[in-house]
């Protein structure tokens, strides 16, 4: 064998890749889990066909008339019930609204106005009963349905899951791995050789980039095939944000791992870092739902700009130039965390 066959960076990357692919359970968590999330959440929040509205009509002299008027429309599921039973059905959500019909005709609606389904039922049922009683519409109303892709929950979710995967990958794939190597005294063994420290860190990071590519491609392809989620903007811009995100979270992972000496410490630190971002950074719902006062803080967390940029590229086709603020926030996080961790890093 000739001397030039031994590239330390190449060997460090190869070693990491081999260790990764030889642990099937780790491969599953990295590649399979995001797909399970897409499937589960995609099914749970799929766009449902117009739902039936459950209506209870309280038994009484005029009940049958109201029931007949409503049954003419198929979207109402109407049942007669005595007062006690009606209350029970309403309370358990089996019906959205109870109608009490009286002479006149007069209709009293019994419902919980804070439940969106009930509030909707109040309007629609009243409309149907008013028409049955002879009301004429003053204007003609027509419906145009929006079915454009990019507006569904699954479209919103996929960029969020990409961001979540990049965060978890950086923290586990860099932070946890390094602490594990420190505990096994492997870091100490490595620095007992002439190995260059920056090559070791570069090897960890580049191997992380390599396993991340299939993760992203599998998720995007699966979302496209199973749910028709399309990337509206350029794939190049998506890849730039993916790499920037991977870089930033590798830095965060490195910082978390820089001194920890036990797996308990590093797991705790990782949860402290990740938990606020899981909740605040808009993976599952828009971060704008939080009060305006905390928005500047939320926008400073590294996951928020990553997800908002991925959404802007994937859903709205924004270009890199339009997203420069996100690029800046991510780059600053990446550079600062790397610089701090290089300063604090303990090899033993």
């Amino acid at each position: 064998m000739s001397e030039k066959e031994y590239s330390p960076l190449g060997q460090l990357i190869l070693a990491r890749l081999r260790e990764f692919y030889r642990q099937p359970e780790v491969v599953f968590w990295v590649y399979g889990f995001p797909i399970l999330m897409v499937v589960a959440l995609g099914i749970a929040f799929r766009n449902k066909p117009v739902e039936h509205i459950g209506v209870g009509v309280q038994q009484g002299e005029y009940a049958q008339g109201a029931k007949n008027a409503l049954s003419a429309n198929q979207k109402f599921q109407v049942r007669l019930c005595d007062p006690k039973e009606c209350r029970q059905l309403l309370r358990t959500g089996k019906v959205d609204l109870v109608v009490i019909a009286a002479a006149g005709p007069r209709y009293d609606y019994f419902y919980d106005p804070t439940r969106p389904e009930s509030a909707l039922a109040r309007t629609v049922v009243d409309d149907a009963l008013q028409r049955a009683a002879g009301r004429k519409d003053a204007a003609v109303a027509g419906d145009i349905e929006l079915t454009e892709s990019g507006a569904r929950y699954i479209d919103f979710l996929v960029p969020g899951l990409l961001g979540m995967g990049l965060m978890g990958g950086g923290l586990w794939g860099v932070g946890f791995v390094i602490v594990d190597m420190r505990i096994r005294k492997l870091l100490k063994r490595f620095i007992a050789t002439p190995m260059k420290k920056h090559q070791f860190l570069a090897g960890i990071m580049l191997s992380r980039f390599i396993f991340m590519v299939p993760e992203i491609v599998i998720l995007l392809l699966f979302a496209r095939i199973a749910f028709g989620v399309r990337v509206q903007g350029s794939l190049f811009a998506v890849m730039i944000f993916v790499f920037l995100g991977a870089f930033t979270f590798s830095g965060v992972g490195l910082l978390v791992a820089s001194r920890a000496k036990t797996l308990e410490t590093v797991s705790g630190l990782m949860n402290v870092v990740m938990l606020p971002m899981w909740i605040l950074s808009g993976i599952f719902f828009s971060s704008e739902r939080f009060p305006a006062a905390v928005q500047p803080l939320i926008n400073m967390l590294p996951l928020t700009p990553l997800i908002s940029a991925l959404r802007a590229v994937i859903l709205e086709g924004h270009s890199l130039v339009q997203l420069w603020p996100q690029v800046v926030v991510l780059a600053v996080w990446g550079v600062v965390t790397f610089a701090l961790s290089l300063r604090w890093f303990r090899w033993m």
Binding site: A15, R189, A192
Partner: protein
């Protein structure tokens, strides 16, 4: 002889609520081509000392020179020329033996091929086996191969055979001897006296962070004054009668160099067993004492340690904390 390692007045204090002085003024000079052993109980400061020399720990004070170079100035150059096996390293379980050695080889400018390193430690048949599947002895041989793969001039081994079965220990001793035959220097730590006696050209016995004696195993044993030891115990264990007087009672026997008594067992260091033994038996008969046991053996480094410290090497475990 050129010197491979020189330390002078090495001190290492671990700061904390109760500062611990692991090394307290240690001087050493290891010559090129010798196998040098640091022998001592656990907690004596052997690992701290070897790790300072390996450049993995900074001393609190004192000077270290390795291959005529200094840590902090020529680190890269020193690292190219030394090989290290740490006390506990868990190499990646999912990499094969060959992959592990290739990784370590890549860190060095020059060295053995990974196949040659495997051959030196007789692991060729395990080339494709994952590290996680190796036995304890095989893992330790791989650790030594990782230290050899850079073809070092100076090899450091910290407790290389701790926890191994006798056959695995002998295999490692052969590997270390073969390395020494090429005129290279070895420094090892051990708390096994037999390991130090069989492998080392010179031994420094370390206790409480200091070198308490230094020399070849033969010289150290000769310093006891007798190369043989007679161990015996008495039926009443010396519990009644005059145990305190016994050393004096025995010291004037012909050929006795020293007497020590430890937990009911009395050990005499003697020059010639056949001279002392009959006299001893006669003396015991005169004093109306009855033997419970009696053995004779060659003196060992253990006896040197016990004579110098009053403790056994293995007792160190209790004091290590």
């Amino acid at each position: 002889m050129p010197v491979a390692i020189r330390c002078s007045n090495l001190v290492k204090r671990y700061e904390g609520k109760t500062p611990v002085d692991a090394v307290r003024g240690l001087d050493l000079a290891v010559e090129e081509g010798e196998c040098f052993g640091l022998l001592g109980p656990n907690g004596a400061g052997k690992t701290t000392t070897i790790e300072i020399i390996e450049g993995l720990l900074a001393p609190t004070s004192g000077d270290v020179e390795v291959l005529a170079m200094k840590w902090g100035r020529q680190d890269g150059e020193i690292r190219q020329r030394i090989g290290i096996s740490l006390q506990e390293t868990k190499l990646s379980e999912k990499l094969s033996v060959l992959e592990t050695l290739t990784l370590f080889r890549s860190f060095y400018r020059q060295g053995l091929t990974p196949n040659e390193a495997m051959r030196r430690v007789s692991l060729e048949e395990k080339a494709a086996a994952w590290v996680g599947k190796l036995s304890g002895g095989q893992k330790q041989r791989l650790a030594v191969a990782c230290a050899l793969v850079g073809d070092p001039d100076l090899l450091f081994l910290d407790e290389p055979t701790t926890g191994l079965d006798p056959q695995a220990r002998r295999q490692l001793w052969d590997i270390i001897r073969n390395f020494g035959k090429q005129g290279r220097t070895v420094m090892l730590t051990t708390h096994y006296m037999d390991e130090a006696e069989r492998l080392c050209d010179r031994v420094a016995i370390v206790d409480h962070g200091r070198v308490i004696t230094l020399g070849s195993p033969a010289e150290l044993i000769a310093s006891l004054g007798g190369e043989h030891i007679i161990d015996f115990s008495l039926t009443n264990g010396g519990g009644e009668g005059i145990p305190a007087l016994l050393p004096e009672v025995l010291a004037d026997l012909p050929g006795v160099q020293s007497v020590r008594s430890d937990d009911g067992q009395i050990s005499l260091a003697v020059a010639e067993v056949h001279v002392t033994l009959p006299a001893l038996l006669k003396r015991l008969k005169d004093k109306k004492r009855e033997l419970a046991s009696l053995t004779t053996r060659h003196a060992s480094l253990e006896d040197v340690f016990v004579t110098l410290t009053g403790r056994h090497l293995r007792d160190g475990d209790a004091q290590a904390s």
